[in-house]
């Protein structure tokens, strides 16, 4: 099998991981809050996309935008009413809360929509294969790669070149100092949380084609999202991007040559990486 196919396949999978996990990395890095319900927002986003397309006939892109907005709004509501109370709590209480929240999300979706998995109907321009000249490849995978890269660039620009981005980076690195300089950290939290959850929602919708979409989604992929965040380094968009792609490509490649080992390689790889660099690929030492 040629290198190009392997690379493209791995990159596409990695992109999905990136889009979902980047929000988790930023919120954990910024707020220091262990949000294990992040996968739940991704799932709810996926369902929002599917239901919008099915019941309101929205086209795919519009449905994704709707998913972003809806879940971002929901997350603001939850953040202001519930999450904010736990900012001063121990990490373990945060774990307890967010796991409870995930259970509620899973059960609610199961009761309202049903336990069956949902399917996203791709628009014609995203379906089928594309001729790249040297290779014919799955159009959707190519689209994912493009979308993921564009998103990464947009986020990077946002963080590096805007005032708000600078404030967020400052607050991640040293919250007290940022506060004493007049940065409204509380509002930043809400904004970042909304952005992160909205992105997760988009990831859920985009990734449904590859990762599937059913009520068990949040718990099934939780380990993967956490791994990507840990390997990439907390709060680092470029870090998460590289980690997600690395894990995607390596897992894909190893599966071709060692199908029996399967998912074992992701774990072995993460172990090796984190032992060599505990702060993640791009994280700050001693964070």
């Amino acid at each position: 099998m040629d290198l190009a196919s392997i690379l493209l396949g791995g990159l596409a999978a990695g992109m999905v991981l990136f889009v979902v996990s980047v929000g988790l990395s930023v919120t954990m890095g910024l707020m220091g809050f262990v949000n294990l319900a992040h996968g739940g927002f991704a799932m709810l986003g996926g369902y929002a996309v599917v239901l919008a397309m099915r019941h309101w006939g929205l086209p795919f892109s519009a449905a994704l935008a709707f998913g972003f907005a809806a879940i971002a709004a929901l997350s603001v509501l939850l953040e202001r009413t519930l999450y904010a109370r736990l900012y001063r709590a121990t990490e373990l209480d945060q774990v307890l809360f967010t796991i409870g929240l995930v259970f509620v999300m899973i059960a609610s979706v199961t009761l309202v929509v049903g336990p069956e998995s949902q399917r996203v109907v791709l628009p014609a321009w995203l379906d089928g294969q594309t001729d790249l000249g040297f290779l014919r490849y799955r159009t959707y995978s190519l689209a994912l790669i493009g979308a993921g890269t564009a998103l990464m660039l947009a986020l990077w620009l946002g963080f590096e070149r805007t005032r708000t981005g600078a404030r967020i980076r400052a607050a991640v690195d040293n919250r007290r100092m940022a506060e004493s300089l007049g940065v409204d950290v509380g509002r930043l939290f809400t904004l970042t949380f909304a952005l992160g959850s909205g992105l997760a929602a988009v990831g859920g919708g985009l990734g449904a084609e590859i990762l599937g979409l059913d009520p068990q989604y949040p718990l099934r992929y939780l380990a993967y999202f956490l791994i990507v965040v840990a390997v990439g380094g907390l709060g680092r968009v470029t870090g998460v991007f590289c980690a997600a792609l690395l894990i995607g490509v390596l897992d894909f490649t190893l599966k071709i040559y060692f199908p029996k080992g399967g998912t074992m390689f992701i774990y072995a790889l993460t172990l090796a990486l984190l032992l060599a660099r505990p702060q993640g690929l791009f994280g700050r030492k001693g964070a």
């Binding site: 954990m28 121990t90 307890l96 809360f97 929240l101 899973i106 080992g261 993460t270 984190l274």
Partner: protein, 329 residues
């Protein structure tokens, strides 16, 4: 200056002494045996989970090590007993427990030595990865482990040659689990109030100072991790001996995350938090799922959220807060 010791010192010196109410859980455990003879299979599961949660409390509550991979040791103990029984014909239960403790403890020693140089999210992920690796390995070598379908029909010799395992009513299993839990608890209690245990609390509360006074921090952490692993292995062993069946689920994230939730719910660092958490969570889950087979997760999730929001450090934390409010009147 000579004279009566300060109240604080007196309090600290007294803490390790047995209180009268510590007999209650064991009395309740025995009483349950007579009051609920048809629920002893469930009861055995609760006892096994308490022991597992207790082992986690050692590392989490006392040494401050947060791990999402403790089921690795539970599973190691479980598979040790299972494979000894299925492949080597070794079905004596008590020596099986010992073997499980040894294997799991050794695994804890090695992995602790490698992993405990990290902390926080990194450590969390490393423990998770170790456990997942073991799970995949068990799947890969399914000729030995039975893989997803597991090893069914494991039967064990009678305990002391006298007490046969009771397939249908789980009577022997329940008392066996209770006895093992009692012994395990005794070990943990003695450990926690020993100088070694005190130094663990020191490591958890003020790492810098412990380094400054020259305490062998890493060594202590690895040691308690290994002891906790051995204990978790024993819990896994009892689980397999009681149910006669082992499969990949003993190494799964669901079990590891479940025991973590249970400990947080009950209150960690409190010894009896494991008891409270396991009983509360499993009873709630059991009764809810019987009443609402499709919707019980909702009720359980809401309960967890409420406890996290309003009770710092779980059930025992809640009890503490209430007691303080009462005595403040």
């Amino acid at each position: 200056m000579a004279g009566a010791p300060l109240p604080a010192a007196r309090e600290l010196a007294r803490r390790h002494r047995l209180q009268w109410w510590e007999a209650l859980p064991w009395a309740a455990g025995l009483a349950a045996f007579f009051l609920f003879p048809n629920y002893l299979a469930f009861g055995t599961q609760v006892l096994v989970t308490i022991l597992f949660a207790l082992s986690l409390d050692l590392v989490l509550g006392y040494a401050g090590i947060v791990t999402l991979g403790h089921a690795a040791f539970f599973g190691a103990g479980a598979y040790t007993v299972g494979m000894l029984a299925a492949h080597a014909g070794w079905t004596e239960p008590l020596s099986g427990l010992l073997a499980a403790a040894l294997v799991a403890g050794l695994l804890g020693l090695v992995s602790g030595w490698i992993l405990l140089r990290t902390h926080g999210l990194t450590l969390l992920m490393l423990t998770l990865c170790t456990m997942a690796l073991l799970e995949q390995a068990a799947n890969m070598f399914s000729e030995f482990t039975g893989g997803f379908d597991g090893m069914p029909g494991l039967s064990f010799k009678a305990i002391f040659g006298q007490f046969e395992f009771d397939v249908l009513y789980f009577r022997t299993q329940y008392l066996y689990a209770l006895a093992v839990l009692f012994l395990g608890f005794a070990v943990v209690r003695v450990l926690v109030y020993s100088p070694f245990g005190r130094s663990l609390t020191g490591i958890r509360e003020n790492l810098l100072r412990m380094h400054a006074v020259g305490a062998p921090v890493r060594a202590r952490q690895v040691l308690v991790y290994a002891i906790s692993a051995a204990l978790a292995g024993v819990a896994g062993a009892v689980f397999v001996q009681a149910t006669g069946y082992v499969n990949l689920a003993v190494l799964g994230l669901e079990r590891a995350a479940g025991v973590l939730i249970i400990l947080i719910l009950g209150g960690y660092g409190r010894l009896y938090g494991a008891f409270a958490g396991a009983l509360a969570y499993m009873l709630l889950e059991h009764t809810l799922s019987k009443a609402y087979p499709t919707a019980w997760q909702l009720g359980l999730g809401l309960t967890l959220m409420l406890v996290a929001l309003f009770a710092r450090n779980g059930i025992f934390g809640l009890a503490d807060a209430l007691r303080r409010r009462w005595s403040a009147r």
